[in-house]
Subunit: 181 residues, 2 copies
């Protein structure tokens, strides 16, 4: 992610902002091209369905970027809320401005690589949601977000996995049993 | 996609190949950096779960590219099979070679834009899988792939949506009823 930080430093408009835990920094329904680079803290993006139920789309800790690319690419109102799970320091930048920066070929290739990684992660997420057991989804989550499980309420992890908090609790109990027996 | 075609034309190694309907051109377990640009025809990527059940990850008709970026980015064996739903003409290229091409800034920005669109589509897919009704997922599928429903067996569409063929049949019957009443 260091390369991307270099890229972002080219954007003289980017400024770090502090947010208190619990602050909602983006709401569904907005049209926005802003993206958020996490310098410190932890953000979450989520959607709320017709029945009022929350579904966590992703978490973003130090070094991650969080944004609603879908809304930005297709000029639609965003479906994603973004809020702070911890007090956070965020570099807010306009995705559109990245395109206008005078980036070198090497920087563009770095950016390209970053986008490709994101596609790879989303591909895995789709395949897991379609075909993997809740247990395997949880294992992948731990691998993908090693620093996050202890920083996030269990109900949000369950929501990310698409299972009930009770099901997550059962899975965790099995893991504890496995390692203690 | 035209810009991407221009980009690919820079790769002198790219060659069109014909495949018969039913041919499997990539198998799960392989390590590969190949990607497939569809000149004519229709490809599908899918995974097979522990119970032997198929799950369609995506379809690719004329102008689309299909590949397993996840396996390529993280150097893991691919989880995806790719096969031909119709007789197809495919431009096979090595994703790695794109990085080595002497692309202009403008071409790299085009390529980045293409990757960003893919992220946007995958984001929507994840959100739909987590939070949308089967009916809404089908509507989005029709919007996303307008040329495909009549070219693909219903069971594959059901698999893409993560529902049973019976459930898809019920949804389609409701739509017919809505427009005929």
């Amino acid at each position: 992610m260091d390369n991307l930080k270099d890229i972002l430093n080219f954007d003289s408009n980017a400024k770090p902002t502090s947010f208190k835990k619990g602050t909602i920094i983006q709401r569904a329904g907005e049209i926005t091209s802003l993206a958020y680079y996490v310098k410190k803290g932890l953000l979450r993006s989520y959607t709320i369905d017709d029945k009022g139920k929350e579904h966590v789309f992703m978490f973003a800790s130090e070094g991650w970027i969080i944004a609603d690319l879908e809304s930005q690419e297709f000029n639609r109102p965003t479906e994603l809320f973004i809020d702070c799970i911890e007090n956070s320091e965020i570099l807010i930048f306009d995705r559109k401005s990245v395109v206008n920066l005078n980036l070198s070929n090497e920087q563009l290739l770095d950016y390209n690589r970053l986008l490709t990684r994101r596609i790879a992660v989303l591909q895995k997420r789709v395949i897991m949601l379609m075909s993997a057991s809740a247990q395997n989804r949880y294992n992948f989550f731990l691998e993908m977000y090693p620093d996050i499980p202890n920083r996030v309420p269990q109900r949000m992890i369950a929501s990310y996995l698409g299972i009930t908090p009770q099901a997550l609790s059962t899975i965790r109990a099995k893991i504890v049993k496995k390692y203690s027996s």
